[in-house]
């Protein structure tokens, strides 16, 4: 049993949960974007890291890392584009 891999997988699952809770609880598009881009990406990072440790093959690890980089790039760009569209369309950020 590889405890480091297991801990990494658990952390990944935790961040996924946090992302979804944020998506459901946060008050407006902009803050929901915060929850999704940050929590889910890092959750995926921990999960893939755990899987890579488990497999133990450097090539598979590198492939998982490339996939993670792509997800990161895609979701950061998407979140910027959606946030911008919301602002330009006149969706005011929620204020307390």
């Amino acid at each position: 049993m590889n405890w480091l891999a297991l801990a990494s997988l658990a952390l990944g699952a935790f961040f996924f949960l946090a992302g979804t809770v944020g998506l459901l609880r946060f008050p407006d598009v902009h803050s929901r974007l915060h929850a999704l881009t940050k929590a889910d990406n890092v959750g995926l990072g921990f999960l893939l890291f755990g899987l890579a440790l488990e497999v133990g093959s450097p090539l598979v690890g590198a492939k998982l890392f490339v996939i993670w980089c792509l997800v990161l790039l895609a979701s950061a760009s998407v979140s910027h584009v959606i946030a911008r569209a919301a602002l330009r369309r006149g969706v005011e950020p929620w204020q307390r």
Partner: protein, 159 residues
Amino acid sequence: MPAVSSAVLRAGAFRIALYALLWGILAGFEPGSWFLGAPAVLLAAWLSLQLASPVPFRPWPVLVFVAFFIGRSVSGAVDVARRALAPRLRLAPALVVYQTSLPAGLPRVLFLNSISLTPGTLSADIRDDTVWVHVLDENGDHEQALSGLEGRLARVFPQ
């Protein structure tokens, strides 16, 4: 033969090496995979030179930035998780305006994307040199965090 500047040559060689590595990682390093892989890598390198002019960067600060970035995005996720799972939501969102001095193109794109992955900030719009940043908590020192991030990127791309 048209004169090709050494900067373009260097960038071309670098991109070919990078794409070949990427191909190997994605499709496998077996000899058979290169029948398709070699033309694809060359085509991709040529296309990327057509689409984006070479951007000089320093290799060592890139590694420093990657390490810094991974650390920041983990703490960003922890921050969001704390806010999402707290019994009472403690959010005080606001829009913050920041003037960037990074050159347009790759450095600026990287800046906007890293803003979205560091704690409490999300890049929401850009017009010329002005970046609109949505923050989860208006009480933080975002000016300092943003200029720190910008400084690290400026070290990667010498002007």
